[in-house]
Symmetry: D5
Subunit: 96 residues, 10 copies
């Protein structure tokens, strides 16, 4: 059964990072994210307005897979993660 998690990722890149290194890093991050979006494990990614941060929903087999996906993010060493396991809400019309 699929497990849902909300993950907020706050990114702190050093402002003086080499532009080419930065561009490469962001390109790899984007490709990595889109691969997991296409596989259905990362069904939502939203930009938090005005912040270098995103709020995402993951749909995974369990804790191990979520860790594997997040740990593999090219930007992981620059990120602070806030992780919230989710369950079905009793008022959710999709589950009534």
């Amino acid at each position: 059964m699929t497990q849902l998690f909300a993950v907020r990722m706050d990114v702190a890149l050093p402002p003086d990072m080499d532009p080419a290194e930065r561009a490469d890093l962001l390109a790899r991050e984007k490709a990595y994210s889109q691969q997991w979006q296409r596989s259905g494990h990362w069904p939502q990614i939203h930009r938090c307005v005005g912040e270098y941060a995103n709020l995402s929903i993951f749909a995974v087999e369990g804790n191990e897979q979520l860790h594997e996906i997040l740990w593999g993010l090219p930007l992981f060493p620059y990120m602070t993660m806030t992780i919230t396991p989710l369950a079905v809400h009793p008022s959710d019309i999709a589950h009534s």
Copy 2:
């Protein structure tokens, strides 16, 4: 154009609330929530595991409508809100 917001609602009901009053309050909350879910303005509601809290996504016309919906929640006087305006993430495959 529709605006997206993430809202986390933490609920603190007094443990000694009258059971009938509590049941009525929760019934009204559920009905109110489901009405806005059905209208499409509250497309997601998730229970935060192990907490009396939910993480929701709202899709509204703008700030005024979001405030109107949240302010009208029967549980509003017992809630602490954390509100995050959302925008399209450049890596989102739904917008590529």
Copy 3:
């Protein structure tokens, strides 16, 4: 596959609670906890020294089951929860 979670529960009972009501509540809490310990879903419970708090490990099917167990705690309305999803650590000799 079993999912592991660490859960810290901080309890705040009103000091003026009726002693009989309190004794009954704690007896129900203990019975409830021990039922889930015996089923194998709550394999560890430790008292945090000097605090009305415990640190527990849960082994569950997933987020839904963890929520169901925690939500059902007789002391739940008096508790603040801190929940940490766990995965295998690469240095763990039990998994080498």
Copy 4:
């Protein structure tokens, strides 16, 4: 319809930044800010007394535009943002 947001921006420039680079950065920041002030999207900017920070009001089409403006700030990589969506207050005489 115009959406209002309060944004507090706290700036942390490295004290040993090259003076010419710093002067250039601040000149671009000022020009960028004034362009959005003139367009009416950034109607207020106040210095927070004694701090390298400002408190601003933005009037935008919605979340996307606010993000675009803030993300484009030359000082963005050095800023911490606190964003508060605003609505009409029922006591506001301008809306009575």
Copy 5:
């Protein structure tokens, strides 16, 4: 010379307050606020979306007058205040 201050007021009314007492309190608060808005000392009041809070700008003679206005709020005993003295921002086109 007029001094500007940003004030965020967070309101915490007891949910079980007597409805008539509450209505009277809110009516007095509104009248009090509008009197100071009309005099020009409280030029802006915004609702913070989804919260029982407002973000206001005050234009006063100085610290004493600001304190007098805030201390006199009928809701003052239920409020938590965050106060930020403001000055002219060097990028503000209104002062260039």
Copy 6:
């Protein structure tokens, strides 16, 4: 009329700062501070015991002047400020 403010300044100098640069910076800070003390605008400065911090009282024309003084501190780029506007206390015997 004079406005009073309490300002706590926490200083964080890089431990590896060049000693001559550091000595020059501190000498300029001292001279700057004493100039404003002599003018009567900085009537009190206290060392916070055991911390690289001071607690000061400023007596200024208003917010603009306070900002101007603080912004001009040679140590400003290394400081975190906490600013509290002050008013007459009704129990103060100096104002009875």
Copy 7:
């Protein structure tokens, strides 16, 4: 030798306190405070603008006397204290 301390006192009176009890409490607080002001041990008391709080300076023989004075405050059970021991600042012109 006299020891200086800065003390910030935040007051939280229950809004529904009996008015006569409250008036009596505040009268005793004022008398108590003024007695220590007149003795020279409480040389400064400032209202923090917009808050039910004061920032005070005490000049006492040492820790014991400061504790005795604060503990004896009629409002002590309703106060949260922040205490900062002070020493002479090397830039203070009063000590050069």
Copy 8:
């Protein structure tokens, strides 16, 4: 071998507690504390100046005994505990 712990206890008694009940509670707390002081398990207790709090050192057999002592405090239901396990410091002349 004896284990040392630093424990800070912050006390929050309801201001409207019945005076006789309060006096009885405090008398029992004092007797209980002094019994453990005399046994050598609570070798230090200091009042934190200006606060209803103490900082204590405990010398116990281990975690179990520390928990037993703290849990048995008559004021325990009104206390917030901060517990720091201590070890020998390599600069301590008593252990050189």
Copy 9:
């Protein structure tokens, strides 16, 4: 008698650390951890999902030994520790 402690270790390695130095450091960390796991003093180590952190249980002779083990960690200079002494929980079926 064995003492139990929960320890959460948050790791912050500089992203630009030399890869060989990093690999060597992590190899030494793993060997060091596994040596204490094999001796029975470090019976549990869990990865916190999505974070460079672990939650561990230690079973040691007392405070001195726990400090010795943690202080000796090759990653210690890069870690922030949160330490919770544990005792037997009265509901634990393993101790009934």
Copy 10:
């Protein structure tokens, strides 16, 4: 009369500090600490288990001397201090 203070010192040395410089710094710190221990002004120093921190008790003439001692610590530029003035506790059997 002697004044007591509890001081917690948290140390943050850069992990890449030159080993010889570090050794020299720590040797000077140890000698400095032991000199004040021998003089009786620093009667207790405890290691906080698992942290680069100590909890100390100082017995000094007053605030000035405490500041002088702490400011002179070779590690001072790398330390964060938490300072608690202490007084006699009414339950202390040493003062009954």
